[in-house]
Symmetry: C2
Subunit: 200 residues, 2 copies
């Protein structure tokens, strides 16, 4: 398959590309430094990426994350800003990409544990992931030409415990290998509308 | 209790007010025609509403709904527009209201079945309700002074089958009485972080 990996240079992106490249032709996309540049907060940039790379069989997005917030003084505009990349960016990869992917191609998005589990300081992360989960259910029945869509919902990855572990004491990390398998299954399997929760 | 009902003149609002007014002092809020006017797409209008009505023990929102959409040509801006009222409006009722409600007061929001079940033409409705479900989980652990928050997630109400039944053939409607009981339980009970799915 020809697969575009958006966020290829990130924490999950690097090992994911290492795994997928064993069996597939990869196009790496990132804000800078990939085969193709893309800023997923911009619909125009996403459209240009798809035009540049030509027909692909799969789009996997492991780019962008939700920022931390303080509920006591959180505002609508701060929340919306937080949603630009991971929420609207990933939705745009699908809404725009539905016209570019090859027949029976697939989208694999990244959500996160905060959709289902409350932790302090991540209200933005919660609505981003919760909204995306419902988007995936909906898109799965709407997409044309046999296109599939799934989401992998990670918890903190073991590789990030050093950086983020202090923020979420007691959160059990997931091994990178398990997460990478989840993404590979979404791309290489036949499921659609699936939310692969890597913490259950 | 003193309770503000936002969307008091709507399909659910009217019977809900009839029930709650048996035991509580109600303030009805609506775009027009209530005790107080409010446009929940405007943070400023919400702030003015809370300032005008004074201390309340509960805020129940049954206003706003998601519009239908066509996935094939849905855009980010159309989706965002759809989210203004029911999603950002209800979130603003909480983010702003956390400074106005009485200690141990409660918020009760309205979401919907499309968070959990895919139906054609309601991608906006899906992300609105899915995002709100995760917001409720998060807000429940963040809200100060013993404030509670819950959401009632209706399916199509029996009273609306004549208007909307043709759009969702096979969707089992919920009796208005069951829905009203769910709202009353959220206000008068002790739960927080609950999503009351009126279709399970």
């Amino acid at each position: 398959m020809r697969i575009v990996v958006v966020g290829a240079s990130g924490t999950i992106g690097r090992p994911l590309c290492a795994e997928l490249s064993k069996r597939h032709e990869l196009i790496t996309a990132a804000r800078s430094g990939g085969d193709v540049s893309v800023d997923i907060t911009s619909a125009k940039s996403i459209e240009q990426m798809y035009q540049k790379i030509g027909r692909v069989d799969a789009c996997v997005c492991v780019a962008a994350s939700g920022a931390l917030d303080r509920f006591a003084d959180l505002t609508e505009s701060e929340l919306l800003e937080n949603m630009r990349g991971k929420f609207f960016g990933q939705i745009n990869l699908v809404l725009i990409g539905q016209r570019y992917l090859a027949d029976n191609g697939s989208f694999t998005l990244t959500t996160g544990i905060f959709a289902d589990e409350a932790w302090p300081g991540v209200t933005g992360g919660a609505v981003i992931s919760g909204g995306l989960h419902s988007f995936v259910l909906s898109a799965a029945i709407e997409l044309p030409r046999g296109l599939r869509i799934n989401a992998v919902s990670p918890t903190m990855v073991a590789d990030s415990v050093e950086d983020f572990g202090h923020l979420f004491p007691g959160m059990e990390p997931v091994a990178m290998e398990r997460l990478i398998r989840a993404y590979a299954n979404c791309v290489e399997g036949g499921e659609t509308g699936g939310i692969i929760r890597a913490y259950r």
